[in-house]
Symmetry: C2
Subunit: 156 residues, 2 copies
Amino acid sequence: MNHTQRMHALEAEILTGIPLTRAMQLKVLSYDGERLCLQAPLDPNINDKGCAFGGSLASALTLCCWGLARCVLQDAELDADIYVQDSSIEYLLPVWGNIVACAQASNDSSLADFIAMFRARGKARLQLQASVWENHQEAARLSARFVAKSRVKEVK
Amino acid sequence: MNHTQRMHALEAEILTGIPLTRAMQLKVLSYDGERLCLQAPLDPNINDKGCAFGGSLASALTLCCWGLARCVLQDAELDADIYVQDSSIEYLLPVWGNIVACAQASNDSSLADFIAMFRARGKARLQLQASVWENHQEAARLSARFVAKSRVKEVK
């Protein structure tokens, strides 16, 4: 499966498995093996002030990181359950348009080390970061830690 | 307006102003002037693993704190726009049932000081904490900083 196919499979998986993402009208925009971007339109994600709801920003940022971890494991032909352990978000500016979030490994983290550790031990942690951008300005920034564990049984 | 009326008004405001909360089927459970609790059923907030979606937990926790800040300002007959500035969440246990989140002032924070500061300056910050509980166990914990600002113009 190439990166474009992987991206479409992830979108289908998210929309099927997490009904709230259908209400958010979430789409996977891009994936290149190291970075993953999602989009959600403003209208279903608006708040009382007419800008993006903080919960939608948090959801998009967290899912963006989760999706990146999922895709890089699948690229390595590894299947895992991936959980978010903790996260912190800075809400820097209100978002008045569509939500566009992009995720990548944190500066002190490596996707290759994550894959190698998972392959060796069946369990690995990964620190990821994601940001929402609007008009070339960073509007929200998340840092989050994920853990991937080998599946004991198939969920589906 | 007493606390019960305030709680119903908050629920109506949230469900009207933030469409995603209708998809989450959010309800305000209780408010006593110092603590506010929200509930959302599992089904519309489920993830691919059959437990609560992290984005729904983050949204419920953040809204719970936001709602508490809104209600205590309204109890003091003060109107403000309230924004989340930053937050951190620990996801401690998967949530297999309905999401029940309760918010209160952080240990080193005071709702009375927040009200007094807002009254004096038209702007005030507040550190709040919220947790999701299931079977008497803390399943997720948020700490978040909010800022309240006097409204320059009426939004509605």
